[in-house]
Amino acid sequence: MTQRTSARDSVRELSTAVTGGIGESPRRPDGTLKVRGEFAYSSDLWHEDMLWGATLRSPHPHARILSIDLTEALRTPGVYAVLTHEDVPGENIYGLEHPDQPVLAVDRVRYQGESVALVAADHPETARRAVARIKVEYAELPPVTDMVAAAKGEGPPLHPDGNVVRHLKIRRGDPEATADVMVVGEYEIGMQDQAFLGPESGLAVPAEDGGVDLYVATQWLHVDQKQVANALGLPLEKVRLTLAGVGGAFGGREDLSMQVHACMLALHTGKPVKMVYNREESFFGHVHRHPAKLYYEHGATKDGRLVYVRAKIYLDGGAYTSSTPAVVANAATLGVGPYRVDNVAVDCWGVYTNNPPCGAMRGFGAVQAAFGYESQMDKLAERLGMDPVEIRVHNAIAEGDTMPTGQVIDSPAPVAELMRRLRRLPMPPENREEPVDIRDMPGGVSNTTHGEGVVRGVGYAVGIKNICFSEGFDDYSTARLRVQTVGGEPAALVHTAAAEVGQGLVTVKQQVVRSELGIERVTVAPMDTTVGNGGSTSASRQTYVTGGAVRKVCQTVRQRIFELAARKLGHGPDGLELAGGKVVDASGVVLADLVDVLGDDVVEETEVYRHRPTYRVDSETGQGNAHVQYGFAAHRAIVDVDTELGLVKVVQLDCVQDVGKAMNPQAVVGQIHGGSAQGLGLAVMEEIQVVDGKVRNPSFTDYLIPTILDMPPMTVDVLELADPHAPYGLRGVGEPPTISSTPAIVAAIRAATGNALPRVPVRPEHITGT
């Protein structure tokens, strides 16, 4: 971190008596195991006598199922069960907010890869072969694949209420406003995949009480539990989930994949059942980022002040609802970006098609909109002969300003500051050293250029993201904390159901307890459903909400300890402090060791933390306080483009982001690196190519994600402008860097080539025109 701005004084002064507290970067509790390759991921789960599950999926994007013949599959030696929709014990339906997806297809499939039947066998290969022996007779139907047509109500309805999942309008100011200059643009975003490295996997173990214990890699244990119990027809307490090692998530594990399937097979066979998708199946086993088409019109004064923004945004949700309503809300409410605009008319549609289902992915809705509005800002700057940084600074939103939804921003929104700082960061040297190292060239080790055709470009972008769940969702987390003496030392055990998916929440929970209670030895209990809901690991919310819950339970536990101390020391509970394993009075005099106060007592408390409420927006005007907090990041990209071959090397990618409070500075920078890389992937290579509803590249051979030769070193500048409404003043970190990375890189490619490049990912053909 090159710069810091000190937190506001509303944040409680934190104890410095222990190491590994808030603001430090202690080692992750799971770090050594992961680095050494010894960490047990969900795909490593094993149980004596377990069976392997496999899934039969639809080869068609849209078809009626005429018949299913299980005979040959059931005859396969080693097969224990072959199940269809008729075997779903409870309701054959699931979904996050709007359940509409069958656990197993009944009489119709709506996307390629939809689950139709399940097999359990004593060997994974046997299970796969038995799946291949299930005979399904389909009558193919024409697929609905055009999102714009679907929004207009054209084509056959895929669900009872038609193909529009949600249409949200944002209306502010004068809808007929006119301006000195006007720029229009049409933009398109391809379907990005989360590309987590650990495929969907889990182990279901039938229990003696007729229930099931499920060990699974997920993002949200309690929402899984609710859906699984409903599909199994079991009460919640008979479906117990434990988080297995998660190899990345990025939104792709928010919906169910194999959870119900493995439990069905386990309950049916009475044996533990493991399911692991391979990479190809994984591409069909989870939702993706919504592809989008965006139509923008920006009006501005001659001196570059925005007068109006009008937009139509279409988001392809694929076959089922998943998170589409929330994606629509984000794209619409954040559709003009972090800019002051008095006159706004945004229409955003999320639709059903027979394309692969799309749902949560890092930055959802905001990523798509940002490519549109940032491309427009550059277009406007060019029209006016303005500098791209200047036009953004000129229109930047700030604390106290009003969003197009009417929501007043009531915490720091340092958009102009981010841009100014970005411009001040050092540039790479202009001249290359000779001879060139081809690894620094577009094309890298493939040896396509030694400098021929290479042109440099610079691009800027800034983005905005809502942090935490919005629109009136009851968004909370639960934390349980136990403090006792272990081996002569005070020790804390912190227990939540909030999923650690690699982001480092386990470390943050330890840090909060250390700082709040002055106890160094903090153990993180396995995450499971024996403690209350932790909410989803998404929307950049866990440090905010679960961090808030851990802080709250620390405060309760501290009060209990002071009460104990008061009894034992004859000192009133007021004015006591905990520091470095001691109980001290207000003047810092040590009154007792914490271990002596605790004795054999165990102090255990559970608390629930909610962030301040949000509200639904008006469906006709979009007005309302939908969001709890906004996050901002800005990028500068410097690219070298081989203009003859259309290949790109991102030379430098710098980011400035306000995080309110860097709870764990190393983890913060890691999130910014990772988010920027994911945005780079969307800019220049990552796309699930779908033609007529079918995926053409379900493999890491042809779905490319950036390597170390694609992702450049970064300068990251972290600001800490505290949000007075948030625990410790913190601001969610994970998503904002994904949002501005993509448009900054494309802006740089445009600067190098002069091409319009209205679509991401940018392919070589878009640059060469061939």
Binding site: R128, N278, E280, R439, P442, G443, G444, V445, S446, N447, T448, T449, H450, E452, G453, E644, L645, G646, L647, K649, V684, M685, Q689, R696, N697, S699, T701, D702, L704, P706, T707, I708, L709, D710, R763, P764, E765, T768, T770
Partner: protein, 295 residues
């Protein structure tokens, strides 16, 4: 069930292959195992050649290298960079370090994928493939080895023993287009070798036709231009028109398709660019005067 056969000598490997022609040979497994994992094929047996020590050896005699079919790319890069520069450059573009440690040129030939990275370099350098069976040995020029998409000239009882190439007597280059800066399958690739002693140019095109192939008209054009102008013995910079024409002829030699990795039009365009650029690089090298025929 699949048998896993592990001969420890070349003669035993050939005997097994003659008895079990359906056995699929595997060395690094970087192609075969992918096909098995995707369930694209289910051979009755795998013939593991990793224990046949002589396959992983190379030797040089009278200016010619005999490269054992089981020598991994990593060793081609570190041990043969001077002798076989084109093949070493192509090897550098193969996959990741792990893949280069396992994958072999013999395996690339066995798979005969049009996108195999070594093929354009082998074609440009006039490589000859030594194949063997219990019936004896055949020498097949690379240009005749590729017979169709993922098909080659091997008989069912034959195995690839080695690849024979001259120690480079002129500059060689290899370039490949992919949409990622490392670890990428070719959208198209091009290999170029100058053979000054024969006053001839060798080329190879990858990933832009059903098989790897030479750009014969381009070779003839450029060889003719160089010879006619006396440039082999007295090299001077090439004109833009020669380089451009060479690029066009290379592009014309391709028969690309539109697929998930790129369009046919882009492949043709990119091949012309690669041909022009690699020609620039080899000719600059040749003009440097360090090659015997040039002195």
């Amino acid at each position: 069930m699949m048998d896993f056969l592990q001969p420890t000598s070349w003669s035993e490997a050939l005997r097994i292959k003659s008895e079990r022609p359906g056995a699929v040979p595997v060395a690094g497994g970087t192609d075969v195992m992918v096909e098995l994992n995707f369930d694209h094929r289910r051979p009755e047996a795998l013939l593991d050649l990793n224990r046949v020590a002589e396959l992983a050896e190379w030797s040089e005699e009278d200016g010619r290298v005999r490269l054992g079919a089981g020598v991994p790319y990593a060793r081609v890069i570190t041990e043969l960079g001077d002798e076989l520069p084109g093949l070493a450059m192509a090897s550098r573009t193969v996959g990741s370090p792990q893949i280069r440690n396992r994958g072999t040129v013999g395996g690339n030939l066995g798979a005969a994928s049009p996108a195999g990275d070594s093929h354009p370099a082998l074609l440009a350098a006039d490589a000859v493939v030594e194949v063997a069976s219990v019936r004896g040995t055949r020498m097949i020029p690379a240009a005749e080895f590729y017979t169709g998409v993922k098909r080659n000239a091997l008989e069912p009882d034959e195995l690839i023993a080695a690849i024979h190439l001259d120690v480079a007597r002129g500059p060689q280059q290899f370039a490949k287009v992919g949409t990622r800066n490392a670890m990428v399958i070719a959208v198209c690739a091009f290999g170029l070798a100058l053979h000054p002693e024969q006053q001839r140019v060798g080329t190879g095109i990858g990933s832009a036709a059903p098989t790897p192939r030479r750009a014969s008209a381009a070779e003839e054009f450029l060889s003719g231009e160089l010879t006619a102008a006396g440039l082999w013995s007295a090299p001077r910079p090439l004109t833009d028109s020669v380089r451009r024409r060479f690029g066009e002829l290379v592009a014309q030699a391709a028969s690309p398709i539109d697929d998930v990795r790129g369009s046919a039009a882009y492949r043709r365009h990119a091949l012309a660019v690669l041909a022009r650029r690699t020609l620039g690089w080899v000719w600059q090298d040749y003009c440097g005067g360090s090659w015997p025929a040039c002195a």
